[in-house]
Symmetry: C2
Subunit: 230 residues, 2 copies
DNA sequence: GCAAAAGTGTTCGTACTACACCCATGG
DNA sequence: CCATGGGTGTAGTACGAACACTTTTGC
């Protein structure tokens, strides 16, 4: 009854980072395969006895030295039968947001080089990886407006202006500083620390910190995060 | 280099329908396999030379006689390695919304029986299909509030009270009739027909029709559909 | 004292909320 | 004339949008 099937299952990892007021993705230069010399997303074939989410975390670690504990599933790419020219391969894509600045990335087993790539300077990648990144960015943009995930891209303690910039950059919109600050603060899940920014320019700025507990409390009370733009 | 991999790829279809003020899912009773006698979602293994979306449309048609042209990808289930006790199988789940009342469903090749099942009377299903449906319902609820997909569950021409009921039922909330009507009509993508409901009870009600063109126009102008509830 | 970024309040308009009565038909 | 569901308006409130000047520091 069961038809013989020869389809391989891969996972790919989109890791977003934010530095210097720019959004980046983590890319590797492949060592092997027909896509040799192409830049690509970290990823690879799933092992028979591992879950999809473990597979993607393992591959990411093997290829970039980045160790995560959770990635969110994005989409499964399997409509283009020839997306990999060698075999029929479907790929389950996952994404994560990390604080890029103090993350040690280094090429490993399967990768020649690893690099952060600015989102608007991504070259032509192996397979359908450009398409995958496009979809990931769309998801990121959407999610940014209805879940407080921007904080995952920032250090534990951050400036309000960084948060503001992050939103402006990723969503490609202008925001009124006063209204933005008022709104975010009104939610009450940010703690003001008594530390100040080490930056030498202008008036010193207080550092803030996202309070996961307070946020969870709010959620339980039916709170719904939302940032809208004109 | 390439590890040998023996993972099968399946697709499953969640088809939502709405009748008698209730939300339903399409289920089949399986003919074959270890899950014999269990009810399950329509679905099956992907062929090597077909896209994922074609696979799910084909399986749905083969098993239920329902012919769709589009289904939206929901999620890929592959974290539970033993979700199918026979082999390692990952399943890419798709969902669709149909007008249930005039759809001819009939068991076919791979299914013993086909049936609409009320969403709150779903028995214990084969594999992890209860989990899949749960996830589909969550997505449906979310999507209902920010995209005008409710109309896909209704006939071409429908009563306002049906639309209202649909929202109340699926979202399990109360809505103020006047405000709901005002808001939806203010969007301007509903056409009032000059037909009246054939129902014998009470004052005759006008039938409405969703105007896809007007809606697309609005979207192009930056319009964003949204129905919120207290 | 000047450059650079941080911090802060008020007004206005729009949009959501709450709420109750009359209307058209069939039996 | 009664039962049943359809159709409609208004007043109050709350939230988002627009908008500019003062403060603190380093040089």
């Amino acid at each position: 009854m069961e038809n013989l099937q020869n389809i391989r299952v891969a996972v790919d990892a989109i890791v977003f980072g934010y530095k210097n007021n720019n959004l980046y993705v983590l890319l590797i230069e492949q060592k092997f395969g027909s896509a040799d010399k192409y830049w690509a997303l970290p990823g690879g074939l799933v092992k028979e006895d591992e879950s999809l989410s473990n597979a993607v975390i393992r591959e990411l670690h093997e290829e970039t030295n980045v160790q995560l504990t959770f990635m969110e599933q994005l989409y499964t790419f399997g409509d283009d039968i020839h997306r990999d020219s060698r075999n029929r391969v479907i790929s389950v894509a996952y994404y994560a947001l990390v604080e890029a600045s103090n993350l040690e990335i280094k090429a490993d087993t399967d990768a020649e080089r690893v690099q952060w790539c600015k989102i608007d300077e991504i070259p032509s990648l192996a397979f359908d990886h450009n398409l995958i990144i496009e979809k990931a960015i769309a998801r990121l943009k959407a999610k940014l407006t209805y879940e407080p995930i921007g904080f995952d891209l920032l250090p534990e303690e951050f400036l309000f202006s960084d948060l503001e910039n992050l939103y402006c950059t990723i969503l490609e919109k202008e925001i009124d500083r006063r209204n933005f600050r008022k709104k975010i603060l009104s939610y009450g899940f940010l703690d003001q620390t008594d530390h100040f920014s080490p930056i030498k320019n202008g008036r010193p700025a207080k550092l803030f910190r996202f309070n996961q507990l307070k946020y969870s409390d709010l959620i339980n009370k039916g709170f719904h995060f939302e940032i809208k733009f004109a």
